[in-house]
Symmetry: C2
Subunit: 237 residues, 2 copies
């Protein structure tokens, strides 16, 4: 049995707890939601339960595909056991279809398919609004080595290829998503979560948004969207 010890970190959507094993931590999923760098705050009922289930299923599946992640196992409705990482403070975003900040940055209409995926790096710094950065900024800030950046980029593209196909079979279009990586015993593992909080999922048939944009843009049906993604990925009701 794995018991929660001291709280190591509390973020906007998750809490990390130590365990008796120094290599393992418990990732607890909350219902709290934030957007626009926490200017907007709210609660999405049962989000923590859906996100834990979605992430657990996707991490387990990615591991089967050869992607190395921090995932060990799902412990309970809201708890996931993961390896303890030294998180690299870079958000790696991969995009297939124009949406969100990319629409604004390039002046392209949301929904425009990209001729090839785009990978972007963001400096994980709430106080700076998570600015976009490039490899030179990464080097100067000493956030990661050039080899680590290459590896994160390649892994993001690999996850994108595999996950796009996986989701397509479940009627979901993977528009874009954010990954975080961490160092673990000399290697890099995929960390954090893969959920409608950090991915954009659109229903393939209707183009309906089934992700946090429903919360960001007050589109209604927020909990139902998370539940729908949960149902399609985890097969639950």
């Amino acid at each position: 049995m794995m018991e929660r010890r001291e709280k190591l970190y509390e973020g906007k959507a998750k809490i990390l707890y130590a365990t008796d094993d120094p290599d393992l931590v418990i990732q607890y999923f909350k219902d709290e939601a934030t957007a626009f760098n926490a200017l907007k705050k709210g609660v999405i009922e049962n989000k923590g339960i859906y996100n834990n289930a979605i992430s657990s299923t996707l991490f387990a599946w990615l591991e089967e595909q050869g992607v190395r992640t921090h995932f060990v196992r799902k412990l309970s409705d809201r708890e996931m056991l993961v390896r303890r990482l030294r998180i690299i403070p870079i958000e790696v975003v991969a995009r297939n279809i124009v949406a969100g900040s990319l629409a604004k940055r390039l002046g392209l209409a949301e929904g425009t398919p990209l001729p090839r995926p785009i990978v972007e790096l963001y400096y994980k710094r709430d106080d700076l609004g998570d600015p976009m950065i490039n490899e030179d900024h990464v080097a100067v800030l000493d956030l990661a080595t050039a080899a680590e950046v290459r590896s994160m980029r390649e892994q993001a593209l690999e996850v994108n290829r595999r996950l796009s196909k996986y989701l397509e079979e479940r009627g979901l279009r993977l528009i874009d998503f954010k990954l975080e990586f961490g160092r673990h015993k000399g290697g890099l593992l995929l960390g954090d979560e893969i959920t409608p909080d950090g991915c954009r999922f659109w229903d393939i048939a209707t183009a309906e948004k089934l992700d946090k944009d429903r919360f960001r843009r007050d589109l209604g049906g927020v909990e139902a969207a998370y539940q729908e993604v949960y149902r399609r990925i985890c097969g639950g009701g």
Copy 2:
């Protein structure tokens, strides 16, 4: 003799005129100054004369150093004869010391020396506020080939090395600068201008700003700063 024919393009600080030679255009330097994506406008007396002289001297010197530029010759106080380029709509910025938007982006104090130069790419689109982009955006927007981006990056670093030394001998610290490149007969040439409009120059002894930041930030002594850079680079009074 080279005479101005029809106006090809009018920008914020320069006008391009055709000549009787389809390969050559006249770049005319105006006194108009803008900042913050043209939200702030003004006139810096004689700026056009100083910038034409500074750019002509620097382009001629860079050509001697083996850097290929659009520069042909200075025609008059405000006119420079240049090769006609198909401009790549990317601003290539190289930085040695933290200033301007980099200070804001990374939360670093202006004046902080960088352990190594940073190169940044910006999409030249006034209507979007010239957003920062990366190589994937360049590819998706079809702005330049991967080889062109590599070449522009290497040339920016090469110009940075040479120009930093050249300016240091004249008591000026090269903080950062913006370059533009264009296609010409199957190759890339350095285009546009190299002036206090697009570079940050600080006096090495006093750290006084001798560039457009005096205009941007209402520091006074704007024309005197341009004149001082002109004096140090062109040896004029």
